[in-house]
C-alpha cells in the first residue's frame, strides 16, 4: 500500500515518491480516456497515468524513473491510504 500524506506519495517503508498536485486544478471533464492506463489532459496536452489499472510495483517503478509524470488517483483506490 502507498500512503498519501499532504499531497505527497510515500511507499509503505516511508520512501518519498512524488507530490501529487495539479496547479491548474483540472476537472474530470478535462480528461479523456486514451487507453486502459492512460488519460489525456486537455489542459496541459499531456498524458496522465490512470492508477486504477496499474499495480503498486509498476507504479513505484515508473515514479522512480520519472517523478514529473502526472497521475490520477481515485480516493476509492485501495492501493492508496489517505492520511
Amino acid at each position: 500500500m502507498l500512503n498519501i500524506i499532504d499531497e505527497k506519495i510515500f511507499t509503505n517503508e516511508g520512501k518519498y515518491l512524488k507530490t501529487i498536485k495539479c496547479p491548474k486544478k483540472i476537472s474530470a471533464s478535462d480528461l479523456e480516456q486514451k487507453d486502459e492506463q492512460t488519460l489525456y489532459c486537455n489542459n496541459c496536452e499531456k498524458d496522465i497515468i490512470d492508477t486504477q489499472y496499474i499495480s503498486e510495483k509498476e507504479l513505484v517503478n515508473i515514479l522512480k524513473k520519472n517523478k514529473d509524470i502526472c497521475l490520477k488517483i481515485s480516493r476509492l483506490n485501495p492501493m492508496f491510504r489517505f492520511v
Partner: protein, 168 residues
C-alpha cells in the same frame, strides 16, 4: 455499491429532499410549504449508469460466472481473463448501476423562499443519478452535492465531485 458523499464543507444552507417512498401526510408541515419552493422532479434513468455484462459458462467444468468483460481488472493491477475458447458467452446484457429503487417515482427539493438567484446550497440527498466517480467497473452516484439556485431550479455543480480524485 455505496454512494459518494462530499459533505457540507462550505457550511452552506441546506436544501432538504422529500422522496415519494418516504412521503406521508406529516412530511410537509404548513410552515414547510409556506417557507419553501417545492421543486419537483420525476426520476428517470441516467444513460451514464448503464454498463454491459456477460454471463459466461466454462466449457469444461460447467461453472457459470458473470463479468463485465472477458478481461476484468481487479485489485492491485491484477486481471481476470475469460478466454473465448474456455468460456462460452451465454448472454450479453446491460445493468443499471444507479439507484433503481427510486426510478419512476417523484421527489422534491425544499428551497427556502428567500433564496437569492445565484445562491449556492448544500443538498443532502441529490435527486436522480449523477456520476461522482468511475472506478474499475463501478459507476458511483453522488449522495449529496452543492447546487446553485437559478430562480427556478437547482443546478448541481458537478465539479464538486472532483475532490473524489487527485491529479498531479
Amino acid at each position: 455499491m455505496s454512494d459518494i458523499e462530499i459533505g457540507n464543507e462550505n457550511n452552506l444552507r441546506v436544501v432538504r429532499t422529500i422522496r415519494e417512498k418516504n412521503y406521508n401526510k406529516y412530511s410537509l408541515s404548513a410552515e414547510d410549504r409556506n417557507k419553501n419552493f417545492l421543486v419537483t422532479q420525476t426520476i428517470k434513468p441516467n444513460e451514464d449508469f448503464f454498463s454491459s455484462m456477460l454471463l459466461l459458462q466454462n466449457y469444461k467444468t460447467g461453472e457459470i460466472k458473470y463479468a463485465t468483460s472477458r478481461r476484468m481488472f481487479v485489485q492491485y493491477g491484477e486481471e481476470i481473463n475469460y478466454p473465448a475458447d474456455e468460456w462460452e458467452k451465454l448472454l450479453a446484457y446491460e445493468i443499471y448501476q444507479g439507484s433503481k429503487d427510486d426510478l419512476y417515482t417523484w421527489a422534491m427539493y425544499m428551497v427556502p423562499k428567500d433564496a437569492i438567484e445565484g445562491e449556492r446550497f448544500y443538498i443532502e440527498d441529490v435527486i436522480g443519478d449523477i456520476v461522482a466517480e468511475r472506478f474499475w467497473d463501478g459507476i458511483y452516484r453522488a449522495k449529496d452535492g452543492e447546487a446553485i439556485w437559478n430562480g427556478k431550479d437547482l443546478e448541481i455543480d458537478t465539479k464538486m465531485y472532483d475532490k473524489v480524485f487527485m491529479v498531479g
